[in-house]
């Protein structure tokens, strides 16, 4: 009865034990996750350290600072109690920084430079490249057999002329003949007091040796010996002289002086420029060029109109067809809906650029399937008549784009409660009225943002235009490199990258302009969508 076993746990003890167990459990789980956390952060820090080290050896101080700050932020965020939102947001923010902010910022920076063909590096590099390619071999001069000599860290050329004369010289002393050279097979291979370098030795100091110029006589205009491979020396004269103090290049043949006039290249008084130049900041020049240069300004208006028409019509046609099909295939009475739906989505599974290429073949005037089979061999110029080409572009884009609209509309339609339709029907509304007054407005609330993004996408739909018509057809008599189906982005591509010349500065400026246009359209459209939402 009252023989209470002293060791039997009381209710209180039980509670305490349970709590203890809970704490232990919690703590051990905490320790495990803590270890994982520390391990992961350690990996992050190790990689950051490595990146810091690399950045430091490369003297990339901006990269260094950015990596340092991000690594510090990550450590602080994950080792501080609390700051829960930061723990969630940090990874996303880091990605945003790398893939969005950095890219946009860099584009913005490039837009204010003349970076492009002929201006793709620093002034230092340009000087080096100019001096390098200004070395001209003296016509009909012989090849000298060469042995590179070393004495106390200084290098000399020991050369044997084709007539057997042996001479020695270095950077500061012109060639002078020597008599006591060690010969081997008619070629001087050594000189007392000097060490002859073998090929490995030459390679070890190839930077210095490749830069050596040994004057052939006291007169610098006679030229100097240089070696391209360490075993032969040739006589060169330099056609350009760089005056470091004055910062000018002088053509030794004509005497023309080229100076840095602030346009990113050595320029003569006549306006003639030496290429390569270097990249400089040009301010808003690229932006003014975008509106004033004849090759751009001429077709700009018509191209802009067509770009808007193309983007707008593409969205409308794909949306209309997608919505229509979505409604049809949403009808429960239809048999085999799933199969049809799969078939409908096929064009979406097809890579867009491939689809465009295939369509270009199908629409070929003489050999395409469309003319050959569907139109019984008629020669309809689908891609070579301006208006038909525009139609073809819209048609192919409809084919490529409707499955997406079909998918999103199907999803949106299914989320509209059937009760609304039923209630309307009971109230005596006709099916079309139900669609127009109830389904469409509800649908638009969720679809409108997608329509706007689809507009933005098509506004820059470079792939389609380039794969289908390359912007053509072009009118050869018009004298501009812009065709009937060129949209802004493909026109920019043609202007900025014609042939081998590329103008990244202009291209960046244009992308910023296009970005602003698309952003404005998007902002206005989103405002409208908000109104739509309020309405409901």
């Amino acid at each position: 009865m009252s023989t209470q076993t002293p060791h039997a746990p009381s209710g209180r003890e039980l509670r305490q034990r349970r709590r203890a167990r809970q704490i232990a459990e919690h703590a051990s789980g905490g320790i495990l996750s803590l270890i994982i956390k520390i391990a992961l952060i350690a990996v992050v820090d190790a990689i950051s350290l490595f990146a810091l080290f690399v950045a430091m050896t490369q003297r990339q101080w901006i990269v260094f600072a950015v990596v340092l700050v991000i690594a510090a932020v990550v450590n602080v965020v994950y080792f501080t109690r609390g700051w829960l939102p930061a723990k969630y947001l940090t990874p996303g923010l880091v990605f945003l920084l790398i893939f969005q902010v950095f890219v946009i910022g860099y584009t913005g920076y490039i837009a204010f430079t003349n970076y492009g063909t002929g201006h793709n590096s620093t002034k230092e590099d340009a000087v080096m490249a100019l001096v390098q390619s200004a070395q001209e071999r003296v016509p009909d001069s012989p090849a000298y057999d060469l042995t590179v000599l070393e004495q106390l860290g200084n290098y000399s050329f020991l050369v044997t002329a084709p007539d057997g004369t042996v001479s020695v010289g270095d950077d500061d002393t012109p060639l002078s003949s020597v008599g006591d050279a060690e010969m081997s097979g008619g070629v001087a291979v050594g000189l007392p007091g000097y060490t002859s370098l073998d090929f490995a030795g030459i390679l070890e100091h190839q930077k210095e040796i490749a830069a050596m110029t040994v004057q052939i006589s006291d007169d610098p205009n006679d030229g100097a010996l240089r070696t391209p491979d360490g075993s032969k020396a040739y006589l060169y004269v330099s056609t350009l002289e760089y005056d470091e103090a004055a910062g000018t290049m002088t053509d030794t043949e004509t005497g023309t002086v080229y100076s840095d006039t602030g346009v990113g290249a050595f320029t003569a008084e006549s306006g003639e420029q030496l290429m390569p130049g270097w990249s400089i900041n040009v301010g808003v020049e690229n932006f003014t060029k975008a509106f004033t240069e004849q090759s751009i300004r001429g077709p700009l208006i018509s191209v802009t109109i067509w770009t808007f028409a193309f983007a707008l019509l593409s969205v409308l046609t794909t949306f209309a067809l997608g919505l229509f099909l979505a409604i049809v295939f949403n009808d429960m009475r239809m048999k085999g809906r799933k199969l049809y739906r799969v078939v409908m989505i096929l064009p979406y599974a097809f890579p867009g650029f491939l689809g465009a290429l295939v369509w270009a073949g199908l629409l070929n005037r003489d050999f395409g399937f469309v003319n050959d089979v569907l139109f019984g061999g008629a020669a309809i110029p689908w891609l070579t008549n301006t208006w038909l080409a525009k139609l073809s572009i819209l048609w192919v884009n409809l084919w490529l784009g409707f499955p997406y609209m079909f998918l999103v509309c199907t999803g949106a339609l299914q989320s509209i409660p059937d009760e609304l339709t039923e209630a309307a029907t009971v109230d005596g509304a006709k099916p079309f009225a139900v669609f127009r007054l109830i389904k469409l407005p509800l649908l638009l609330v969720s679809i409108a943002p997608l329509l706007i993004s689809s507009f933005a996408f098509n506004f820059n739909n470079f792939n389609l235009i380039y794969m289908l018509t390359e912007g053509g057809p072009r009118d050869a008599a018009a004298g501009i490199n812009v065709g009937g189906t060129d949209i802004l982005i493909s026109m920019v591509y043609k202007v900025a990258f014609d042939g081998a010349t590329s103008d990244y500065g202009l291209a960046s400026a244009f992308s910023i302009i296009i970005f602003v246009v698309v952003a404005l359209v998007a902002i206005i459209s989103f405002k409208q969508t908000k109104a739509l939402e309020d309405l409901n």
């Binding site: 990874p91 880091v94 063909t117 090929f199 100091h205 391209p228 491979d229 090759s295 014609d498 042939g499």
Partner: protein, 411 residues
Amino acid sequence: MTVKKNPILALGAMTAVAALALTGCSSGGSDEASEKDGSTTLTVWVDADRAPVLKDVAAAFEDESGIKVKLVQKDFGKIQEQFVQQVPTGKGPDITIGAHDWLGDFVTNGVVQPIELGDTAGDFQDVAITAMSYDGKTYGVPYSIESIALLRNTELAPEAPASYDDMVQMGTDAGTEFPFLVQVGEESDPYHLYPFQTSFGAPVFGTNDDGSYNSDDLQIGNDGGIEFANWLAEQGAAGLLPTTVDGDIAKEKFVSGDSPFLITGPWNVGAAEEAGIDLAVDPIPAPGSGPAQPFVGVQGFYVSAKSKNVLAATEFLTNYIGTKDVQLELYKVGNRAPALTAAFDEASADPITAAFGEVGANGVPMPNIPEMGAVWQYWGVTEADIINGKGDPAELWTTMADDIQSAIDGE
């Protein structure tokens, strides 16, 4: 709770920082030349087809000289742009493979340096050295030359045509769908039509004494050019140069025996042979009074302007790439005629290579000056319009020449 969720977040953060670190590396790391002195490493950019050949050459070179060659495989089509972008940053290779018509762009951007071939320059075919030269200096070691020629289906046309009219006649007699085939396309193909144009004495640019092109001397609009334009209009009206025939269609029609002739390069020989067509290669018949000279494309190797291993690079190119054996190996993987005369003579055992080589040796290098960009812009469209009878041929041709001139002046 918060503690338990952290690993996932930390994982995300790790990926982020890893990505950042990688960006850091790619924007700053892997500078081969900055390795310590003593262990010289040459970095060579090469395309996938030529990489296996160069691998053996590199191994032999390393054995003999102790210089390591690191081959980096690149997509040939992307090399030009990447080389121009990466050399200034110091991350580019020491040597890159390339086409000769990139040279103008390379020199304008200051990313290549002249190479001294010394006395070995005479061992290469003249057209290859001219192609690899810019402003009187040689910038690359060539390894192959290629050009278009006339491919003949010997079953349909047993004899080589003596003239252009002869070819059309033979083609018509053969009773096939097309008397002859050449790829034109909706914006025309000036490269494939160029032999016809040169036969009228209308090259794009005049040449200097040393064979290089003079960009101040635009020749395309001369009287020969007008004559060519009129000829184009005639052929277009006769339906001989349909602009709907692009490269793929031309090849397909020739392979299926729809024409006895196809004007094309060595790249289509394989497909025709596979289809069992008995091939012969002839010079392109000239419609004008001069010789029909096609453009010649030359491939070779360039040395970066910022290479810190110039001597090693020169040694590798002149004494290894420039040898007969290597040139023959490179010929075997691409079927392009070797640029080294000795190697070419040996490769000429194959009649098709010999015939292509002969046509190429009489061709003219494709201009490697940057002004060529302005020419391509207007050239094809105008040809297409003339062929399709859209306006007076002489007028269209003159407008084109003026447009090209003003585009060159504007640059």
